[in-house]
Amino acid sequence: MIFGYAGKFLEVDLSTQNIKEVRFSDEVLMDYVGGRGLAAKVLWDRLGSRWETVDPLGPENLLLFLAGPLTGFFPGGRICVSGKSPQCNGVVGSTVGGEFGVDLRCAGYDGVIVVGEAEKPVYLFIKDGDVEIRDASRIWGMNAKQTVAFLTKECRELLKKRYPKKGEWREPSILYIGPAGENKVRTAVVAAKWSHAAGYGGYGAVMGAKKLKAVAVKGTGPLPEVADLEAVQRLMQDVCNNAYESELWRRWGTGAAGYDVGAKQSSEPVRNWQEEWHDERSFGVDQFENRVWVKSYWGDFGCPTTCLKLAVVRAGKFKGAITDNPDYELQAYLGTNLGIFTPEGNVYLASVIDDLGLCGIQTGNVLGFAAELFQRGILTKEDLDGIEPKWGKAEAFAALARKIAYREGVGSLLAEGTYRAALKIGELKGVDVMPYAVQVKGIGVGAHGIRSEKDYPEVYSYACSVQGGDHTSVAFMPLDEPRSEHIRVFDDSGVICFFNTFGIPRNLVFDFYKAVTGIELTKEEWVNIKAMKIIQLQRAMLLLGGPDLQWNPEIHDDNPLRFYEPLPSGPFKGKTVEKARVDEEKRKYYELVGWDERGIPKSDFLKRLGLDDVDKALEKLR
């Protein structure tokens, strides 16, 4: 027996309304852990043989909400959302903070597997072993704040009615979609609270396609039994002490980076990556702290870092806007990338994006793309339904975001995400607009550029990642370096928050895993065998792709074209990425992870990992 697991997973078929419990063998749990790793395994086992034909937005796709054995124990609660991605047509392990994973495990489940598609809007309500598919027609169409308020009230009333003698019931933990997910927008998120989001992958659209508005869970049991409680408590304290020691990191979260990454590292997207440098003091962390943060420490379950901050605009034309931080990624994508350099404009746009259930990164990416096409006269005011997305005009970008969330007019085109929109606009206008699409394999690149080489991703990091432009999972050599996706896949499978691993020895995370599960795991075994298997599964499904898109690694294992242009400004003016160097690094990376010169996982490498069926499935690509 493995400690640290609730032991059961819930499977809900929305087409037949059948609800059952499923279990995985100890062997599978030991190899794939949970979260992202287990998602890759489940998706491969169930859909791998016909992967190319599975429509991410069809009833055949699976939607997975998977915790891991460390969820709730390792400080900082997260859950992993996955399925076949409507952005990259492979598999993304998309994690989101909150109490959902903890509540779910206290209810006796390590995860929820959703299959099929409901006829009418529904939500799932899980109270320990009682699982209901409930009508959601009254909340379909609601924005984030309305949805959370409604479900909090309804679920608490249900609990009160059913268990009147229990005392005051707390709110359930909720994952949900906004209007964007309902309308199957490919940049839609699965959200928690108001502003927490599993963005990468576009699983909000998958949830919307299944007509699943939300999942609410209240678990009243304890977290699963662990192998060594004393060790778990000691390690929890170590993680907390480390976080407490970096007070400014706690105080500012990633919010200091909106200024720093632009001004110093020069790797922040500015006006759709036309520049990566700015020195706008108006965007300094002090401005955020003093003007809009009403709570300087805001966190999820057990978190010592509390890197979130609650932001409210108190005065001026954006008065009443509420969001978190915004964190660095949203400062960049809903700020500098759109030429917005004030906390108020940034908070306002982030709050609009939150309410609509859109991803701040992916939507900021496609908005920047549209704005550059407008700047260049490729898209006109008429093309954009009368909206003029000029740099810095937060209201215009908000208007465009609403069009996207409701798929109205030009919004329907942009709702397809940057890559697909670029293909269509190119066709409509007879101009190649791909040079302005800053994405890799259908996923907009996170707000960390590579041209200055002062940030963490390397020149091949996005090109070779199994999650495309996702900045939280990049390819890196050596494979056991903390930023490498071979390491990060452990965080996403554990499922833990990467930000609470900053500054602690990596081995501590594996010690933590052992204290919880009782299973010895070394970094070497993880990187070379277990993570390697997960990465190969993700790579295989990414390359198989389909049905609407397929990636050819010889073409698509590459950077956005923009990264080959010289930086036009800042301390690294003129610096660019050499294509020859990317190719050379790529070759080295391919060799290290067992891919042939065309980027296809090699037969003997896969067989050595015991992935014979994957090898067979990839035969057609060789």
């Binding site: 206290c106 005051e168 049991g221 977290l223 407490y244 420490y297 978190c303 010592p304 409210v312 009443g320």
Partner: protein, 177 residues
């Protein structure tokens, strides 16, 4: 025990709007009392009826202890040492009369056992305060128990949420619930 060493009764002073929602108090409380991480068995529970308005909900140790008065089996008593309400698990019949009597509806039933959960101040060294202070959030702080109107702090989650929403969000706060 010598007079000088005798512990003074304590009260946990609280500044709810500073709560980060980290719930480390629940982790500490349930580990101390249940030897498990068990949020719903924690005697201090963080409510979040609206995101951003998290706060710990736990015994205010009213000066007149209405819960103790209301207990039909005398399962509840006041610790002479700490001033905390103590629950005798063997005598408690889980009737819920103390919940009704509490102005803040603070006591709640143990998730798996038929007995009520009320903060016992961990015998004088509250674990929730320890972790809250350690994290520098300082929502919770131990002060000597003097003659103040502690009962004012026994309020329902809805009442507290409404007040904090206005404090934190201003006018917007009125519309968020």
């Amino acid at each position: 025990m010598a007079e000088a060493e005798k512990r003074e009764a304590i009260w946990i002073a609280r500044d709810l709007s500073k709560c980060s929602g980290c719930r480390r108090c629940e982790v500490a409380c349930s580990l101390f009392h249940e030897k498990r991480i068990w949020p719903e068995a924690s005697r201090i529970r963080v409510f979040m009826l609206a995101p951003g308005i998290e706060f710990p909900h736990f015994c205010a140790q009213c000066e007149d202890y209405p819960c103790v008065e209301a207990c039909p089996t005398k399962a509840l008593s006041v610790s002479t040492e700490t001033g905390a309400v103590l629950v005798d698990a063997n005598t408690c019949i889980g009737c819920g009369k103390c919940i009704e009597a509490c102005p803040g509806k603070i006591p709640h039933m143990h998730p798996t056992e038929n007995r009520i959960l009320i903060c016992d101040l961990c015998g004088g060294n509250p674990q929730c305060v320890r972790v809250c202070q350690e994290g520098l959030w300082n929502v919770l702080m131990i002060v000597p128990r003097r003659a103040h109107s502690f009962k004012l702090y026994a309020r329902t989650p809805e009442e507290i949420t409404r007040d904090l929403a206005v404090k934190i969000f201003g006018e917007e706060g009125e519309h968020l619930l």
